[in-house]
């Protein structure tokens, strides 16, 4: 059998783990694939190099491929999503000064998004009446889970992020420095960059993605639509390799090996101790204080690699909410069509993988871990709730978008 080469782009982040393990632990090799990994410096570079064929697949922010297909980016790169790269993994970190203000306004130290958000609303109001400048928060990209979950959290706590907060874009490795030199007051980023700011003594983790929206999507495997169509068997082989890699990542016995692997200069290139909090869920939130966050980052359990259409549609609803795209039936269809659970099922059925019975779910409906019907191995989903206990029913998306419109 001839070996096929796939070139994949990635950004140095902990959640590139599944891709890294697919190569380093030989899962791609077992499928007859030579998986070449190329580290990139920006998501824009990932997009451009996928568009012109340098990359066939890439580590991507989950909303990015939807934005590409909706024509929201300078260079069109038709992209499909046949697999997710895990759930959760981000946190919101603030400067020491902002934390002291939040604490004085009643923010609890246990990462509870409600008390933190309400304290933030009071700090924002105090600053306004004192004539002080807007607080500045950074996210990594306009089409990112970070941007949408941070805005969702603020809005649900009565803060208008477009008017009352100065939102800026900063690349992940520069977040801790930006916090230190005072050019931002807080940020939402993936690991290990929250841990980096805490270890440097510049930041305090205020809340986590998993607390704002439990079991929520973060990164995906973006696949060039043209390549995926032309090479369905190669793509299926890659999905099998990545599924096995995800399983390997979830095994607690592999944790220190995984941390060491990601720490390599060619991957994240930072100390392996920085990788451990996200992998164990025991976050170092400030100084030596450690707080456990359930389901902080899930690489495999709870169908963590399944590309739910309801995830794609929630991101789309937020693009509409924040004025990035107009909500029309055609745009809705494009967003929904970007995620391809059909390709996931086709590739992974032969492995006896846990396959959910549906392609979409009502997000926030599962208040506890719930066994669900599966066409393969047994499957437990949830809890998957938003912190404000609201529901997102993809069949009622018009009403959801209308209710959020300002």
């Amino acid at each position: 059998m001839s070996r096929e080469t796939i070139t994949a782009g990635f950004i140095p982040l902990l959640d590139a783990a599944i891709m890294v393990v697919a190569r380093e632990q030989g899962f791609a090799d077992e499928e007859g694939l030579e998986l070449a990994l190329v580290r990139e410096t920006s998501w824009a570079n990932i997009r451009d190099r996928l568009a012109i064929g340098h990359f066939q697949v890439a580590h991507m922010l989950a909303p990015m491929p939807i934005a590409f297909n909706l024509g929201l980016t300078p260079l069109p790169a038709p992209t499909i999503v046949p697999m997710a790269l895990g759930l959760g993994g981000n946190a919101v970190t603030v400067s020491g000064e902002l934390w002291r203000n939040l604490e004085a306004e009643g923010a609890s130290a246990d990462l509870d998004p409600r008390s933190a958000g309400e304290a933030l609303r009071r700090v924002v109001a105090r600053r306004r009446s004192a004539g002080r400048p807007l607080l500045r928060f950074a996210v990594v990209h306009p089409h990112s889970g970070h941007n949408y979950e941070l805005r969702y959290w603020m809005a649900a706590c009565g803060i208008d992020p477009d008017v009352e907060i100065d939102m800026v874009i900063v690349p992940p490795p520069l977040m801790a420095d930006a916090l230190e030199n005072g050019s931002i007051d807080g940020f939402c980023v993936g690991e290990p960059w929250n841990t980096a700011a805490v270890k440097a003594g510049h930041g305090r983790i205020l809340t986590a993605k998993a607390a704002i929206w439990r079991s929520s999507p973060e990164k995906v495997l973006g696949v060039s639509a043209g390549w995926g169509e032309a090479r369905p068997d190669t793509l299926a082989a890659l999905l099998r390799a990545m599924y096995r890699a995800a399983q390997w990542c979830a095994d607690a016995g592999n944790r220190s090996d995984l941390a060491a692997m990601l720490a390599e200069p060619g991957y994240v290139g930072r100390p392996s101790e920085w990788m451990l909090p996200a992998l164990s869920g025991d976050l170092q939130i400030a100084g030596d204080a450690v707080t456990r966050v359930e389901d902080f980052f899930l690489p495999f359990a709870k169908a963590a690699t399944f590309p739910w259409k309801s995830h794609a549609l929630w991101f789309y609803s937020q693009m509409a909410r924040w004025g990035q795209v107009e909500h029309t039936p055609a745009h809705l269809a494009t967003a929904s069509g970007t995620y391809r659970p059909d390709l996931y099922r086709l590739a992974l059925k032969p492995l006896g993988a846990a396959l959910p019975g549906a392609n979409a779910k009502v997000e926030g409906a599962l208040r506890t871990a719930t066994p669900v019907g599966s066409a393969g191995a047994s499957l437990t989903l949830g809890p998957d709730g938003f912190f404000d206990e609201s529901l997102f029913d993809p069949d009622q998306i018009d009403a959801y978008i209308a209710a959020q419109a300002r």
Binding site: W43, N45, I169
Partner: protein
């Protein structure tokens, strides 16, 4: 009436490369060229310059921030939403291969922009070639130094002349199908390892 001169912004951390680009733009008759090396206060500067064309190196880690600023904020009066010409796949490939990205305001005619982007691409390529040649020249120089050291070691240890030492190195390299500098490097390394200062007698 000639068209209004284009305002061009070049954002490149590499000072030498950006000078090469700037020189090229000025030769082509563009006088309104601004070069920035970092993103300090970039939003204000972009608002002042109000560029028609922005050239950025692909290695810039702030590319996502810059792209967001061009597209979604009011820093640029006319939205910048183009990466060369969308229909011109070959031009896009050439630009990405060269490591350059270009943003152009909407509505600017392609024939005015294309020469600028083409020039940036060819200068980026020329710069890469130059860097490679410099790197080669540097390793060449280092190779010569290491060969001199190896010759000295052989002359001392075997009591032979400089010509004989060089001939010995060359013969060994030919026999082992290696470069003379590589053979010299191994010899210098093993001589360093066996240097009297490092020898521990029992």
């Amino acid at each position: 009436m000639p068209p209004t001169p284009l305002a061009i912004l070049v954002l490149d951390e590499n000072h030498i490369r950006s000078s090469i680009i700037e020189a090229g733009l000025r030769e082509a008759g563009h006088d309104n060229v601004t070069i920035l090396h970092d993103v300090e206060g970039i939003a204000r500067k972009v608002a002042e310059i109000n560029p028609d064309v922005i050239v950025i190196d692909l290695e810039n880690p702030n590319r996502d921030m810059l792209e967001n600023m061009f597209q979604f904020t009011r820093a640029v009066r006319r939205p910048i939403a183009m990466f060369v010409d969308r229909s011109d796949q070959a031009a896009i490939e050439a630009a990405v291969d060269a490591g350059v990205s270009a943003y152009v305001v909407d509505g600017l005619r392609q024939e005015r922009v294309k020469p600028i982007v083409d020039m940036a691409v060819s200068r980026f390529n020329a710069f890469s070639r130059l860097s490679r040649e410099l790197e080669e020249a540097r390793s060449e120089l280092e190779g010569r130094k290491v060969i001199d050291r190896a010759k000295g070691i052989l002359m001392r240890s075997r009591g032979i002349s400089e010509e004989e030492a060089y001939a010995l190195l060359r013969k060994t390299a030919m026999n082992q199908n290696r470069k003379i500098a590589e053979v010299a490097q191994s010899l210098v390394m093993s001589a360093d390892l066996l240097a009297p200062g490092d020898r521990h007698e029992p």
